[in-house]
């Protein structure tokens, strides 16, 4: 009686990864084309051709790269800040019960509030310059990452912490040399979700008085029902997301070589 083993085995299918990616992209295009043709959705889905046209139009007006650049800056600045703050906060929450007791309810409360709902509050508090956008993205990414990384911190195998203590590790050492590497899988999901949160909050962030940016471009085009430009914005946000994901994959390979994984 033998059970065939599939998956979780390190076998790879013969077809290389990028071929699958191409297939996947082609399928997406076909699906898009279909949506752009079906009467029910044709109205809303500009066709790929129209989107390309819109792209060249935006490039010609000279705003395309500018929009992308400034949005990218906001997303990355907010994300990096969120990450830098989330790591120690998650750690302190895992470490000091008092800190956790004080901070957790706030985090729990704020993380459920729709960003669009607190835009006016941000504007009132921070203003309308670049800082405001970065702050909105910072809040969104921070919250996602702190929740994820905190779970990771709690999940660290206690025996490893014990082993480190025995070898003379201070709290700081244990944080940097045990807790952080041991919760790498959680930190990685946290970063992934953080980057997503940064991008999905972009539109909300650029409601805080922006004259440039992909989010603003989408919002403004939406007002004029210029679906080609809306889709253009979505496509670019998606592409930026895919690039982030590639970077994450790279980071992941570097950081978790020690792990026994099932699929590569």
């Amino acid at each position: 009686m033998e059970v065939k083993q599939k998956g979780f085995a390190k076998k790879r299918s013969g077809i290389p990864d990028f071929v699958w990616l191409v297939i996947s992209i082609l399928l997406a295009f076909a699906f898009w084309k279909l949506l752009a043709v079906m009467p029910k959705t044709a109205m809303v889905f500009a066709s790929p051709g129209q989107v390309v046209e819109a792209f060249f139009k935006e490039v010609k007006i000279g705003v395309m790269w500018d929009n992308i650049g400034i949005s990218l800056f906001r997303v990355l600045a907010g994300f990096v800040l969120g990450f830098i703050v989330a790591i120690p906060v998650a750690f302190l929450m895992g470490w000091y019960k008092i800190f956790k007791n004080l901070v957790e309810p706030w985090i729990q409360f704020v993380r459920n509030i729709p960003p669009i709902a607190y835009i006016p509050l941000i504007i009132a508090g921070v203003g309308v310059d670049e800082r405001a956008k970065v702050v909105v993205i910072f809040i969104a990414t921070f919250l996602v990452m702190v929740v994820t990384i905190y779970q990771g911190v709690r999940n660290v195998d206690e025996t490893l912490i014990k082993a480190a203590r025995i070898l003379g590790a201070t709290n700081r050492d244990i944080f940097l040399k045990v807790v952080v590497p041991a919760s790498t899988p959680f930190i990685l999901v946290g970063m992934r979700l953080g980057l997503s949160a940064a991008l999905t909050t972009l539109v909300a962030a650029e409601m805080t008085g922006a004259s440039r940016g992909l989010g603003m471009m989408i919002m403004a085009a939406g007002q004029y029902f210029d679906m080609a430009v809306v889709l253009l914005g979505i496509v670019f946000i998606g592409i930026i997301g895919l690039i982030f994901e590639k970077m994450m994959k790279f980071l992941e390979r570097r950081l978790t070589g020690w792990q026994e994984t099932h699929v590569l």
């Binding site: 705003v63 835009i119 006016p120 203003g127 309308v128 403004a220 939406g222 007002q223 029902f225």
Partner: protein
Amino acid sequence: GCSTGNAGSSTSSSQPEKLTKMRVAYMPNMGSASTLVTAIKMGYFKQEGIDVELVQFAKGPDEIAAMGSGNIDVSQIGHGAHTLAAKGQANIITIDDTSLADAVMGNKDKGINTISDLKGKTIGTSLGTSSQVILDLALASVGMTEKDVKVVQMDPSAAVTAMVTGNVDAVAIWSPSTITVKQKMGDKVVTLADNNTYKDQMQFPSSFVVTPTYASKNKDLLIHFTSALFKAMDYRSKPENIKTVADWVAAQIKQDPALIELGEGEGNWLTSKYVYDSVKDGTLKKIYENQQALFVTNKQLPAAVNVDNYVLYDNMKAAYEANNK
């Protein structure tokens, strides 16, 4: 900001004086941006010794928030945000235009040809906007209320989608969404009511506002600012100029000029003379009073207040007189 102190030299553009910086909030559409953009393009602000920085917002409430925190000096607001003025949190330095943008539109294929046909139908609108008010007025004209139909909340762009895909039977929206609907649906769509239908009962002003504190500290500066606006309004009110204005707006908000030009008719482009006259004969007061009465009816405002508390007639008068002395 502080007052410029050279109130007399309003039209003299010769001296290269230090300009006073002002940050002004607007929204990316014809009705909200056109006066400001014209004043910049025509150099009217410079003539008044003012350097204006425009900041774009998606929604009126966000502008108010920015103004409250001191990040914005002046905001151009639409209908809904006027509640703030009534609540004493903002002062109106001048009216900008009155809206002709709103319309209630029905889908003929869903059997809607008259307002009465709306009974029991699904209508998409943005709650709390002037379009919803037009809808209410339209319903009232045939003895119905919102309870007789199904009103659903959506953004204008969502409403367009819902309308053209047949997911709602009617919409109460404003330009440019109205234009999109017409373009996409052609003669399948019928306009049941718009601002002109009820212009005697109700007009929807959009206005420039500042915080009361700012108003009291910068009286002179605001007169200069308003002067520039008036010049721009006069420029815009000339039919031969409107296309140019639309193109400037398009450039400012980085939109396709062709799209913006579609919105040339979405506002009643007032002249400074009209404003001056209506201040004097009380028409302006009436406009704001009607609007406030509506707020009270809809419980957006607890009780009526005196419009004179928040409309700065003197500012408008002074600005007009400075321009026409």
